[in-house]
């Protein structure tokens, strides 16, 4: 029941340099809690003091922005890929 989570460069120091880690959970928020158990300190980087995703963090489940799904309650299953990506400029 593992979900692949892609870790952005600024947070790879907390995952021993790994760009991808395996986590478990049935929703995005559960996945982030599991990520925190495996790599202590990472969740507070992604979520604010109230446990909500920070304003400038984008999370994608299988390439879809979770704000178009059910936010941090979006369901995930084994084999899914989750990307955590900082907001980026455009033009």
């Amino acid at each position: 029941m593992a979900v692949t989570v892609r870790i952005p460069t600024p947070l790879q120091r907390l995952t021993d340099g790994q760009g991808e880690v395996q986590c478990e959970g049935s929703t995005v928020i559960e996945l982030l809690s599991d990520l925190e158990r495996r790599h202590p300190g990472i969740k507070e980087r992604i979520c604010d003091g109230d446990g909500k995703l920070r304003r400038f963090v984008n999370v994608f489940v299988n390439e879809e922005d979770i704000r178009f799904l059910q936010g941090d309650q979006t369901a995930v299953k084994s084999g899914d890929e989750v990307s955590i990506i900082p907001a980026i400029a455009g033009g």
């Binding site: 892609r6 952005p8 460069t9 600024p10 947070l11 760009g19 980087r45 992604i46 920070r54 304003r55 400038f56 963090v57 984008n58 994608f60 390439e63 922005d65 704000r67 178009f68 990307s83 990506i85 900082p86 907001a87 980026i88 400029a89 455009g90 033009g91």
Partner: protein
Amino acid sequence: MSYVLGLKCRECGRLYPKEVVFVCEYCFGSVEVDYDYDAIRRVFTTASLAQRPKSLWRYRELLPIEGEPTAGLSSGYTPFFRATRLAEALGVEELYLKDDSVSHPTLSFKDRVVSVALTRAKELGFDTVACASTGNLANAVAAHAARAGLKRYIFIPADLEMGKIIASLIYQPTLIAVEGTYDEVNRLCAEIGAKYPWAFVNINIRPYYAEGSKTYGYEIVEQLGWRPPQHIVIPAAGGSLITKIAKALKELRLLGLLGEGATKLHAAQAAGCAPIVNTIRERADIVKPVKPKTIAKSLAIGNPADGYYATKTVLESGGWADAASDDEMIEAMKLLAKTEGVFTETAGGVTLAVAKKLIDAGVIPRDESVVICITGNGLKTQEPLADRVGRAVRIKPTLASFESELAGQLAVASTNQ
């Protein structure tokens, strides 16, 4: 000589060295260049400006490079002029156009940001540059990198206008057309950028890149005689230009170069992709992303990175926002061409259409000074105009054919005989 102190997180204020840092490692906020304004004040004066080149590099001290500029030496300092015929059509007294549709060399304001980004990329030791683009940035990176002798990878949504594809390919970059929206291209590039040692101008060297947009603001003020206009109507895609025009005004004020008076900044987006306009009009704190559906492809960013700051900037200035339909933007493109002889792209149509709405709604009073930002060229986005601009009158190469086909018009015209 550099006046850059370092990089600073816009959210939590953490400081970083002036290297390749683009988000705060702690809170993911974007980082911004911080300058030594006391030192700048001593050398950056209106008197000194008179001697400087007419390019964006005349504002060199306020741009984040260490040595001499190496890209975009002829970019910027584009035309700024009073638009009296358009003013009459819109029913306002004092209207100006800032016209980057003729920016050298790629006909959009993206020449500004890329000039700064590539100068800085070279300083940082990169030999390859890249970008995710809705078209104009692609053209600018492809052209400037060719001249700078850098390798270039350009990522665009596959459904871009032909004009923007050709105007990238001609410079021989590696052009990658991604089957998806711009937001999907951007997400992909964030992941590619994490893996390959390239300078992605709008990602890992974004803090330097984005500063180039300030020159659009400096020029408006300088070309207006150091007087701040009362209103500036600005197109919004990712939202960065709005924040950088605001920063330009703030810096000039700090340096004692800006005359009295406040400027209201107004945001313009297409109705089919208006996440920033929605947030401003709801005075909301969170920008809800949208799935873009508009012919204004250069503004089709559904998940605007600077949406939050653009919203704050507009509301703090006392400005407002509106959105234009596809039809309204085409009519505005035609109006601009017909009254002022300027052929802008769909994004310029959006900006003018929104300016008109804000004037009609009384948000912009008819007796106050207004600047409309024209940021791109219409030759690049011809597709939506094909059936909307009339047709040429087709004739045989004879005087008789000419006179019979144009009989109606010639009846009122005089001849030499």
